[in-house]
Amino acid sequence: MADAALFEFLHMEMVAELWSHHYDPGPGGQKMSLSVLEGMGFRVGQALGERLPQETLAFREELDVLKFLCKDLWVAVFQKQMDSLRANHQGTYVLQDNSFPLLIRMASGLQYLEEAPKFLAFTCGLLRGTLSTLGIKSLVTASVASLPTCESWGVGDSS
């Protein structure tokens, strides 16, 4: 249990740190911070994508990789599995977490909805980085309808 808290606190500090040095409170500065967070997540995801599947069997197809993300990656980082995975068989996947650990302590409902994207950027990068190591170039975005449920949309291109 203590391990999960370590990452949550570190993540909160990362977000707070990036936002406190905002000399440009307009949308330009915000985008910079979001992309810095996403970049950090990307590099971490790349390394995790190498280390976590080390002992697993070879992934035969894209769906195997997505299942790996929902089960093994999510359990390794957040100690729980993703709640649902939907696919449209054309390269778009929706991963839904009904009690996302990085949002769960904030609120339950619509309070703080505008702040939520800050706390999702790192995780989007994490997913994108892991996918990229496993051979899938993708674009990952996240959306929150009401805390602490969040959905990640991954549009992949494995060519």
């Binding site: 590099r43 790349q46 390394a47 994508g49 190498e50 280390r51 599947p53 080390q54 697993t56 069997l57 070879a58 992934f59 035969r60 197809e61 190591t133 496993l134 051979g135």
Partner: protein, 109 residues
Amino acid sequence: MVHTSLDVVDEKISAMGKALVDQRELYLGLLYPTEDYKVYGYVTNSKVKFVMVVDSSNTALRDNEIRSMFRKLHSSYTDVMCNPFYNPGDRIQSRAFDSMVASLMPQVC
């Protein structure tokens, strides 16, 4: 010769994808023997391919030993990836990795 063996690796990978073989292992086994050398292959989930070329005269080398060498290579490569000073895609310059590879070689030569 390593390039032709890469073609064989690709063949094996695509064969694995089509045929519903139960064996979904990372280790590909003996790719093909030539007169002087044997070539072994191993592919990771991140599509990184390791190719090992061994002198045929060394007949004492068993399958298990090759497998364990590939496992060590994979694990050192993972360590290199996790190094914050390493950018994925660059040439590997890690001394730890080089010394691990060097330590494998006396077993083979």
